[in-house]
Symmetry: C2
Subunit: 329 residues, 2 copies
């Protein structure tokens, strides 16, 4: 095929997939770091990246997050929002390196940092000094852990805070995918010879009127949209049942499990959770699956934490750097 | 041997080595990171640790330095001084994580950050916020790249600035070991039955007077000290011969070699050096050996840089994470 023809062919395919038969519904989470404050050679400090329909959102940004982002082969120019759960160093010291590198990588437009109100006062002087040549703006959005308002929303996803209980103001994040469009039934499209320009409207719920004036109801032409996926991130926090209403029925819950049963008293004193407590919440909230992380460096093998969690909630996994949680692909 | 006897035996041996026959003269450099600003999966940003007689000094502190320090099995409590060559992020973004972890690791006393005067204004608010629970003080020592005064000096080592030529004020560092004590001649110690309490003075240059009143000159009792070792660190900088007087005859020179021959014009524009330029300086300054680093992420294999440097100065090595440069052990 002539190269130009080839280009048009691929453009057509892309158009056909995106605008005729539905968006690519990707919803994936990459674990970039799942260690606790004291570093170890086993884990990096906390960072994750959520990919919703090819837009990237970072949750927390521990030291080394930028390297892990490269390792996960993500395109930094797609990252526009960074959500910081709280202002402890192991959740945000990777921010300066990441934003500097995004400047070197040709990111343009804007990056928004959603964080505690102290963040701008602390980080702005550093960013003004070290990232002054960056070709994009950095904006801070001060968030309140107790607000029920959406922190962020677009046509694909809404992000809300989950109030947590830690030594300093802290919140988790709930990522709720927007309900997708209805799926066109190929057989009906063919049967009624529905023209391309009408299909987008039908996926939104419109009926179709044939050239003869017959009204074909939408329910005959389409199938319901794929159920929207939901992901909840809860770290750092001590055990608190007040988060249950926020995380009820999510497809996946990432919950910190810094300690095991033996350290329950210490966990409580440090405002952290045990693996068993994380599993108890997962069970109460009837989540789809539980991923535990934020492991204390004292554990050379976290299988003990996994076993304790699985006693309560069998569908539990241990987080690890490089892990991909696929909710939709 | 009875356990108590065993303990005394080892204490005696330690005492004998340290106070009778000479200090352990260790002088080693660990490369913790040797990549340039744009991160890659091959290298970490710049950081090194210099071990002089078991005191640790850090040179630059790129992101990830704390993990590499753990990996090199160094005891963080021995680290009291951090020298920052300049305030570009790839040379200092690891500072906050390192200092936080030192707090968790039981470091006490003081840590001194020797850096450009802007460093305190920029870093102090961050440190006050994130390291407020640290059990040690953090002090800033503002340094001038052009000063010929020693930045730091103790009885083992003196550190001086080397003025470099970069886009912002930058200096390298020259670590000069203090001249060691003279070595006691075992045969003479035995012949004259020199008591233990006199030996320290003799190693400092004193003569010995026998019980009969005979003066035995120091030159008969001792051998000259081991020559003092010197290490020079020059990164980041464009090619400049003005550093030659500072680095003349050092045992080891670490010099940046961000680019190869083909990028010479670009290197100059970015105020960086090529591998060949680093080697040219090593040759002019007649250094013992050259280690090149600060490699641009564009090189998937730095052998081309090594080859270009070795054409000018054969005793050149490529830096790599985990490399140990041993000047004395």
């Amino acid at each position: 095929m002539h190269p130009k023809g080839c280009t048009f062919f691929f453009l057509f395919i892309t158009f056909a997939i995106h605008y005729n038969y539905g968006h690519m519904p990707r919803f994936e989470i990459d674990i970039l770091g799942c260690g606790a404050a004291k570093p170890s050679l086993r884990h990096l400090p906390t960072a994750q990246v959520v990919n919703v329909r090819d837009k990237l959102f970072m949750i927390d940004c521990g030291e080394g997050a930028q390297i892990s982002l490269c390792r996960a082969r993500h395109n930094m120019t797609r990252l526009g929002h960074i959500f910081l759960s709280h202002l402890h160093g192991d959740h945000c010291f990777g921010l300066f390196g990441l934003l500097s590198t995004m400047g070197l990588s040709g990111h343009t437009g804007e990056v928004v940092i959603h964080a505690h109100p102290d963040a701008e006062r602390l980080f702005r002087p550093m960013l003004d000094y070290f990232c002054r040549e960056n070709p994009f703006d950095i904006r801070f959005n001060a968030i309140s852990p107790s607000s029920t308002e959406a922190i962020y929303s677009d046509r694909s996803v809404t992000v809300r805070a989950i109030p947590l209980k830690h030594r300093i103001p802290t919140c988790g994040f709930l990522f709720e995918e927007a309900e997708g469009e209805r799926h066109l039934r190929g057989d009906m499209v063919e049967f009624y010879n529905i023209p391309t320009y009408r299909r987008a409207g039908i996926k939104q719920g419109e009926d179709f009127i044939t050239p003869e004036g017959k009204v074909v109801p939408n329910s005959m032409l389409t199938l319901p949209p794929t159920p929207a996926a939901r992901y909840a991130y809860c770290s750092d926090t001590m055990y608190t049942t007040r988060i249950v209403p926020y995380i009820e029925g999510v497809d996946a819950l990432y919950h910190e499990a810094t300690y095991g049963d033996q350290e329950e008293a210490w966990a409580s004193k440090r405002f952290h959770s045990t693996a068993r407590q994380a599993a108890t919440l997962a069970k109460q909230a009837q989540v789809g699956k539980l991923i535990i992380g934020h492991f204390s460096s004292r554990y050379k093998d976290e299988k003990i934490l996994l076993a304790q969690a699985q006693e309560v909630f069998p569908n539990t996994s241990l987080a690890h750097e490089g892990m991909k949680i696929i909710l939709k692909k």
